[in-house]
């Protein structure tokens, strides 16, 4: 890079990890083997809810080839990804909470023996009443699935009010009130989770694992194994897809580590596909009630949202998921007054957690359908309604989120143009339709999941006379292209090629801490840290080169693997010569960079979920054909525009957009993490309906339409060279756009995902009977909401604090006194 012109950034390039993946050379966790390695299998609960009376493992222990059997008492330490939800143990201690909850582990010389021996572990269960739905959880306080939480089986509730919403809605010309439902679904990474644990020659434990967050696994292992952090190394192997499904800390990781320590032999486990469905931590099923008020000209005046989340059997990231369902409604459109109430409950099913879009696709589905309804009632074009309300750049939202650049209006215009939306919406023949929807997502959560003031991403560079630059980062390549971003940014700044840079990532021994590959944080946070480290290296090299070339430092340029005089480009040093000069001048070369997100504007309790250094924006138009006789839905084409800030590698960005569209379409049309209860008089079973790749329906290439991707580039000052996220945001508009398109095609509203042919037919029947032509939940369950924290919006004289949280107020005052 020289004079602000880029050599690599913005050019479509082959990814640095592409070759290894295409040739099958990438070593995923299950590809690893070590001498004397042995194999582990987990015995999982066949009951959805039960007390464990007794476990007899003697027969399994005596089975030839079995080396070790572990049960809950052997690894009793509690852990959990969030400090507020330390509710898991590696193996069940006295209680199982869902079918698939791990109860015992068998380690044997080979996997088949371990699997055979599982059947020899005798567990005596005392069955308990089960809870299958959030409605049941609300009305069934006993038995409690967990002893903690708010009360009964309510895990957590939240309520915020930003300005007097009822007053705003009373002054609206139109208020649309709707209830919506979003079925749970899972990540479905093609790589099944795998881990290998070994005690190495220095006596330290190493865990190689397909995890998105080695740092969090590192923390959990310290706690569960009660070992010094410095004696544990976690290496994140390249993930064969994550999507949030490998961002939690898992039982098999804890148990494999414990077994390796006890046996002194490397212990490997690779989950079956069915087990991956039980690990889950995927999309929460959410019921929603949303009310939006508008003026006759389409101006939004206020919105209320209630969400009820089916959390499954453990906390996982659930408290964050809950807050995220209420966080980002205000980031796309200016909502002057807003109230959010949310509740997460426990049920006897695999735990839900973060999946691509974490907590935000569900309310986005409700909101974008509701806007479509409002546009129709006002006789407005849906694009025009949205354009009228697009949030202002560099502004604060009602819930105190600080927006930087916002390319949403441009996204809407571009996607509307590309699809001829205006020319076709409400004008296509019966059975064909187009639908529009928009969205936004954060570029990294503003807060770490545990409170600290340290950097959220660190990067180190090592450079030497060989010309090689090694860049160390704790970030994890999960297929999203983070290694490529890391290498490209360093190479860009140093004027060298990506092949001159080697990335070492996701290794708690070797790399500085990065919180992990989640919340779309890596490009922005790791990227900024990498830029800082590379610029520091560039300064060292420039100083040495300036001396060698006898020119002022400001005249030193970097590019084409040379360090040269920008006023006489022929004069310069080859890259290796420049490094030799730098090493002579400074000694061994190394630099660091780090990144901490800006402080949030929100001061109220719970305001830590939602803030981000930047927000990406997307708009999509989906075209559908719906057969009125069968409800069969065909999607011939999708247009999507994404505000990426700046595309560092456009081919990677487009890949992420298309991948998001693909995943979103699966959620829109077919994916369901569905459960089955057998007739109660005959059986207490509560099982995942189809934990398999065949029957859990996810689209195939034949089901994927053409996608036309438009990249909108308006560099955001917060991002590395202006880049924003693309890993999650483009998924969000797809589901509501499909629903809106179905309405345009056949005039029925589907207020529930997945949007399936049978639901379309039911809605058509409803209309034929004189009903509203709608399929969706009948109402929102009764939830006892807590008193809302009242936080005046910025334009109503607020300071980001709640006015009715005296404890918080006192603390703020104290802090102020301390600062002055």
């Amino acid at each position: 890079m020289s004079d602000g012109r880029f050599d690599l950034v913005g050019r479509p390039r082959r990814r640095v990890d592409g070759r290894g993946k295409v040739l099958g050379e990438t070593r995923f966790a299950d590809d690893l083997t070590l001498p004397r390695m042995v194999h582990m299998k987990l015995l999982r609960s066949p009951l959805p809810h039960a007390r464990i009376r007794r476990i007899d493992a003697s027969e399994a222990e005596a089975h030839p080839g079995v080396l070790l059997v572990l049960t809950g008492k052997d690894v009793p330490g509690e852990y959990g990804i969030l400090p507020v939800s330390q509710d898991e143990t590696a193996l069940a201690v006295e209680r199982v909470r869902f079918v698939g909850d791990p109860v015992a582990a068998v380690v044997a010389l080979d996997e088949a023996t371990a699997a055979d021996a599982l059947a020899l572990v005798e567990v005596d269960y005392e069955p308990l009443a089960t809870i299958a739905t959030p409605e049941e959880a609300l009305t069934t306080p006993e038995p409690r699935i967990h002893a903690y939480g708010e009360e009964g089986n309510v895990h957590k509730r939240a309520a915020f009010e930003f300005g007097d919403v009822e007053e705003a809605l009373a002054g609206a010309d139109l208020v649309v009130d709707g209830v919506y439902s979003y079925e749970g679904n899972t990540h479905l990474p093609i790589e099944q989770h795998a881990s290998l644990a070994a005690v190495e020659k220095d006596g330290h434990l190493t865990l190689w694992s397909s995890t998105q967050c080695p740092h969090y696994v590192h923390r959990a292992l310290q706690k569960v194994l009660d070992l010094p952090a410095a004696h544990i190394r976690v290496v994140a192997t390249p993930n064969g897809g994550g999507f949030g499904g490998k961002s939690d800390v898992f039982n098999h990781e804890m148990v494999a580590a414990k077994a390796a320590i006890l046996l002194g032999r490397p212990v490997k486990i690779c989950l079956t596909r069915e087990e991956v469905f039980y690990c889950h931590r995927g999309r929460h099923p959410v019921k929603m009630r949303m009310r939006t008020g508008v003026k006759n000209d389409g101006t939004l005046v206020g919105m209320t949202l209630q969400t009820l989340l089916d959390g499954g059997a453990y906390g996982s990231y659930g408290v964050a998921s809950l807050f995220y369902t209420g966080a980002l409604q205000t980031v796309t459109y200016r909502v002057p007054r807003y109230r959010f109430e949310g509740c997460r409950v426990f049920t006897n099913k695999p735990p839900c957690g973060p999946k691509r879009g974490h907590g935000t696709p569900q309310p986005r589905f409700a909101q974008e359908i509701q806007l479509d309804t409002i546009a129709e009632k006002l006789g407005m074009d849906p694009a025009e309604l949205r354009l009228k309300n697009v949030a202002e750049p560099n502004s604060l939202t009602a819930n105190w989120l600080r927006i930087g650049t916002i390319g949403l209006a441009e996204c809407i215009r571009r996607v509307v143009d590309a699809s001829d939306f205006t020319g076709r919406h409400r004008k296509l023949p019966h059975g064909r339709g187009v639908g529009l929807a928009c969205s936004s997502y954060l570029c990294g959560a503003g807060l770490a999941i545990y409170w600290n003031k340290m950097p959220q991403s660190g990067v180190q560079l090592k450079l030497d006379r060989s010309g090689l630059v090694t860049v160390f980062s704790g970030a994890t390549e999960i297929g999203q292209g983070s290694d490529d971003v890391l290498v490209a940014l360093v190479a860009e700044i140093l004027g060298i090629e990506p092949s001159d840079v080697r990335a070492v990532t996701g290794d708690t021994d070797l790399t500085p801490v990065d919180l992990g590959s989640y919340s779309s944080r890596v490009t922005l946070m790791m990227g900024n840290a990498a830029i800082q480290a590379a610029e520091r290296a560039r300064a060292l090299i420039a100083e040495a080169a300036a001396k060698r070339l006898d020119i002022p430092r400001e005249r030193v340029g970097f590019g084409g693997r040379r360090v040269f005089d920008v006023e006489d480009a022929g004069r310069g040093l080859a890259w290796r010569e420049a490094l030799v000069a730098a090493e002579e001048m400074h000694g061994t070369l190394g630099t660091v960079g780090s990144y901490t997100p800006p402080r949030a504007a929100a001061r109220f309790k719970g305001g830590g979920v939602g803030p981000s250094a930047a927000y990406s924006y997307s708009a999509a138009v989906v075209e559908v054909e719906v057969d009125p006789a069968t409800g069969w839905i065909t999607v011939p084409k999708i247009w999507i525009a994404h505000d990426i800030g700046r595309a560092l590698n456009p081919v990677s960005v487009r890949g992420q957009v298309e991948g998001s569209v693909y995943m979103g379409l699966g959620e829109a049309l077919m994916e369901e993490q569905a459960f089955r209860r057998l007739p109660a008089r005959l059986s207490g079973a509560l099982v995942h309906k189809f934990p398999s790749l065949l029957e859990y329906k996810s689209p195939t290439t034949h089901d994927m339409p053409d996608v036309e991707t438009v990249l909108v580039e308006d560099p955001d000052p917060a991002g590395p060279f202006g880049a924003k996220e693309v890993g999650q945001g483009p998924l969000l508009p797809i589901m509501p756009a499909v629903s809106n398109a179905v309405y345009d095609a056949v005039g029925v509203r589907i207020h529930e995902v997945p949007i399936t042919p049978d639901k379309v037919l039911k809605a058509l029947d409803d209309r034929a009977r004189g009903g509203p032509g709608r399929y969706g939940p009948d109402g929102f369950p009764d939830v006892e909401w807590p008193e809302a924290l009242r936080v005046p919006p910025p334009w109503e004289g607020g300071d980001g604090n709640a006015t009715n949280d005296p404890e918080r107020k006192r603390a703020a005052k104290l802090e102020k006194v301390k600062r002055t």
Partner: protein
């Protein structure tokens, strides 16, 4: 990874050798052709044969031969069937059925004989051993209750073969060979409406070939309803075959429904209603409604049973319209998610 249980493996070189092994082993032996059905089932412990008798080494069981009509060796892969020009030209219904089985990879391994003998399927049954343990097993394997309909005296697992309805519509026969001799059976008679004992094949018999009479002007078609354009088994399928006179009069007709019972269902009344008339919209409507009446899907496949029941008539109508000569390619494209042409290449 889920591992296979232990078994002994036999690899005979001829059908008679295979039949001799079966005669000796009894019902504890399983025949292995492509393995795309048996091996995953064995991993899930749905079948745990003591002996697996592999047919892959018997070259006489492969290939499509001319004669009076067509004879297809039972171990011909579905890809081989799809790539056969005679099948495509003369037995369109079979071609369309074979082309829509599973995925290209599975068609490269799976055989037509294996597809005809495909185990019946059910979402309570096609699960791992651990999952089935969690529901205390079902009538089809290790249990006593049919969880689809706990009052049912028989297993309601679903016949999910694509090629059987097509072959029944075409009046095809299969040859069954055993140590004691061989017999020809109408494909229609190969099946029983019982999810456990769904085949009329005796355990000592080997399905060795499929026989088709000359097409002789019979038009045939196969429509498959499933969620996705690949992988999935049918949740409803319709095979139809008919001979039309020059003026369009239906001289003979057969309509067969798949995936709505434990065996393919012949819609005789519907076909009978068409005979002697022409395929007017009205006649198609009447026949479709009559055929759809037979469909009694249960809640043990993908999609809701009400929807599967509801749309059955629409799918029958599509099949009959194709027989009439309508251009149904756009409908095919929407339902199958792709033109079937790509399947044969």
């Amino acid at each position: 990874m889920i591992r296979l249980p232990r078994f002994s493996y036999r690899a005979p070189r001829s059908a008679s050798e295979a039949a001799a092994i079966l005669a000796g082993e009894g019902p504890d032996a399983a025949l292995l052709a492509g393995g795309t059905d048996l091996l995953p089932n064995m991993k899930r412990r749905q079948q745990t044969p003591r002996t697996v008798v592999a047919l892959r080494g018997i070259s006489a069981l492969r290939g499509v031969r001319n004669g009076s009509g067509l004879t297809i060796g039972a171990c011909s892969t579905l890809t081989e069937v799809v790539r056969d020009g005679r099948v495509r030209r003369e037995f369109a219904g079979l071609w369309q059925a074979a082309a829509q089985v599973a995925t290209p990879h599975l068609r490269n391994m799976g055989t037509i004989g294996g597809n005809l003998c495909l185990d019946t399927r059910c979402t309570y049954y096609d699960q791992s051993l651990e999952w089935r343990r969690a529901i205390a097993f079902c009538m089809k394997k290790d249990g006593t209750t049919c969880w689809v309909a706990p009052g049912s005296p028989r297993c309601l697992a679903v016949s999910s073969t694509d090629t059987a309805p097509a072959l029944i519509a075409l009046g095809a026969k299969v040859r069954l060979e055993s140590a004691g001799g061989d017999r020809l059976l109408d494909v229609a008679d190969l099946y029983r409406n019982d999810g456990v004992r769904y085949l009329a094949r005796r355990p000592d018999e080997i399905l060795t070939e499929v026989r088709l009479d000359p097409a002789d002007g019979i038009r045939s078609t196969y429509w498959k309803l499933r969620r996705r354009g690949s992988f999935d088994f049918p949740v409803l399928s319709v095979a139809a075959a008919a001979r039309l006179a020059a003026d369009g009069t239906v001289e003979s007709a057969r309509i067969v429904l798949g995936a709505v019972a434990s065996r393919p269902l012949v819609a005789a009344d519907a076909a009978h209603a068409l005979r002697g008339g022409t395929l007017t919209d009205g006649a198609i409507r009447v026949a479709s409604a009559a055929a759809a009446k037979l469909a009694k899907p249960m809640d043990n496949t993908d999609f809701t049973l009400h929807w599967r029941k509801r749309v059955a008539g629409e799918i029958v109508a599509l099949a009959l319209r194709e027989i009439r000569g309508d251009d149904v390619r756009p409908d095919r494209l929407r339902l199958a998610r792709h033109g079937l042409d790509s399947a044969g290449i």
